[in-house]
């Protein structure tokens, strides 16, 4: 279930005055069941990169392997690939089109060749996963709230039962509650089904909370691909790319500058809490001696 990219490069409108590199020479490999956060400033090539991973756009040069097979080799089953590597676009609710929620979610599985009954079961499972109840099945998708629409649209991809799930800014444009709901849903999916997840985001906080590894893109290049801790250590470089480490990392950095022996690479409030408590205990033990 691994995706491997080798020297991916994508050029928009090659050979014209508008020629521009979206992605430059990117190579990486994912591990099974990993949660990857993909971070980058607007226009850093995040969306272009993920669209290449399920074959929606073909790289100008470079290769993509899924489970060791070159996806652009002769006779490769693209449809099957798109079922296994599910891609949820940014603002996925804009792709809803059916008369009711259930039928819309069934669209994917039916395209994959499932019978109507199978597709309906898959759709119901997916809707349950994202927390949309039975009373919504027969409603028009356009009657739902923003967050519900988003979850229904995500269910549309989940219903195909993908091995790898790629989400492009799944929380963009939602209110804080809707945002937490979506992110929690994704985290739960990851825990329960253990599939590989690649989540695009420009919020370090969101990514720090969930990701095992973070990929940082800047101007189409892969700058870092490492654990959150290692990436946040470079918070000054991140800032130059128009990104920032989580606020808590800055706080810890400031504490360290004031002479406290804390780890300044933590990315979540919970970790920071443990770190400060540890320091506190050490201090108490010292004063007790």
């Amino acid at each position: 279930m691994s995706i491997k990219a080798e020297g991916l490069t994508y050029i928009y409108q090659a050979g014209t005055a508008m020629e521009s590199y979206a992605v430059r020479d990117i190579s990486f490999e994912t591990k099974d069941g990993e949660f990857i956060g993909l971070i980058g400033h607007t226009g850093s090539g995040k969306s272009t990169l993920i669209q290449q991973l399920n074959g929606l756009i073909k790289p100008t040069s470079g290769k993509i392997y899924y489970n060791g097979e070159d996806i652009h080799s002769e006779g490769y089953d693209m449809k099957r690939l798109r079922q296994r590597v599910g891609l949820v676009f940014q603002y996925p609710e804009y792709q809803l089109f059916e008369t009711d929620v259930l039928t819309d979610v069934k669209f994917g599985p039916k395209n994959m060749g499932m019978s109507d009954i199978e597709a309906e079961e898959a759709a119901k499972r997916a809707l349950k996963l994202v927390g949309i109840g039975e009373d919504f099945y027969k409603r028009s998708p356009f009657e739902l709230s923003g967050g519900q629409k988003r979850r229904a649209a995500i269910a549309g991809v989940l219903a195909m039962d993908p091995e790898v799930l790629i989400l492009d800014e799944p929380a963009a444009g939602l209110d804080p509650l809707g945002k937490t709901e979506i992110l929690e849903t994704i985290a739960r999916l990851h825990r329960e089904r253990n599939n590989t997840i690649i989540m695009v985001s420009h919020s370090m906080e969101d990514v720090a909370e969930y990701a095992d590894r973070i990929m940082v893109l800047d101007d189409g290049k892969l700058v870092y691909f490492d654990s959150p801790k290692e990436v946040f250590r470079h918070y000054e470089e991140l800032e130059k790319m128009g990104l920032s480490a989580p606020q808590i990392t800055y706080l810890m950095g400031d504490l360290k500058k004031r002479g406290l022996q804390v780890d300044d690479s933590v990315g979540t409030v919970a970790e920071a809490c443990r770190e400060i408590l540890r320091l506190w205990k050490e201090k108490e033990e010292k004063s007790a001696e």
Binding site: I57, F89, L96, F97, F107
Partner: protein, 265 residues
């Protein structure tokens, strides 16, 4: 895929043609189109072609880019040429079953093809070198006299510029929706005509909804900025003719004279 359509698109470089007043380009394009129907001789077509090539060179737009725009109309070209080729009565050259090709037919078909290609290149040259905003500005100003007979010139121009502005947005949107549905296994390339037509529904429904949403948003944004039509509105960059514009007019006039003369060659 749909991004390949170059008709009506603006090609951003810097050239004398780009800097010309949009009114000059509008008038010249019109006159060029008319000139193609003034001449009947090979000399005329060669001259028009040479003029067109010269303008392309000056405009600094890669020739390949312009030719790519022709791809979209190949079918149209093919149909009109074959109608002319096979359905013109006259002296027969050879036949293909019940279809016969005449000398006159060959001649008109050839002329028709050349005219159409020139026509398309000529008009796309205008849109390639003029931003939609300049274009509507030019139209609004040159048609301003119609205001006197109560034609809402400004409103029409505004509608046009909004429509033009929305073309790339909607193309991008279509591209995105298509990809999103493809990620859900939608297939737009196979099946018979009915199946293909049905496959369009998952694109068209979201596209219409988003077009309406965008239109409503835009209307609200315009109202919020107190837009109330053309009356009393001034421009940041009013159109003013400069020396190069007069020279361009002069050259176009010269070109027209030559084209008219070739009628008797």
């Amino acid at each position: 895929m749909i991004r390949d359509i170059t008709i009506g698109q603006y090609y951003p470089t810097d050239s004398v043609i780009h800097r010309l007043d949009p009114r000059v380009k509008l008038a010249s394009t019109m006159l060029f189109l008319i000139s193609l129907f003034l001449t009947e001789s090979i000399v005329g077509y060669v001259f028009a072609g040479a003029a067109l090539l010269a303008v392309i060179r000056i405009s600094r737009i890669p020739f390949k880019y312009i030719v790519r725009g022709l791809k979209a109309v190949v079918i149209l070209l093919f149909i009109s040429v074959s109608f002319n080729l096979f359905l013109t009565p006259g002296e027969e050259i050879f036949r293909l079953g019940f279809l016969k090709v005449t000398r006159e037919g060959l001649r008109t078909a050839l002329y028709m093809a050349v005219r159409l290609i020139y026509l398309i290149i000529g008009s796309s040259l205008m849109t390639l070198t003029t931003t939609p905003n300049q274009l509507t500005d030019g139209l609004e100003k040159s048609l301003g006299f119609l205001n006197k007979v109560h034609v809402p010139v400004h409103e029409i121009a505004m509608m046009m510029s909004i429509a033009l502005r929305f073309i790339p947005i909607l193309i991008e949107e279509t591209d995105k929706i298509m990809k999103a549905q493809m990620a859900r296994g939608a297939d737009f390339d196979t099946g018979n005509l009915m199946q293909r037509a049905r496959a369009m529904v998952p694109i068209l429904v979201p596209l219409f909804i988003s077009a309406f949403r965008r239109a409503a948003d835009l209307a609200q944004a315009m109202e919020a900025r107190c837009y109330h039509g053309g009356a009393g509105r001034t421009k940041l960059k009013p159109l003013r003719y400069e020396r190069r514009d007069y020279i361009a007019y002069l050259l176009v006039a010269l070109y027209l004279v030559v084209m008219v003369v070739t009628r008797w060659l």
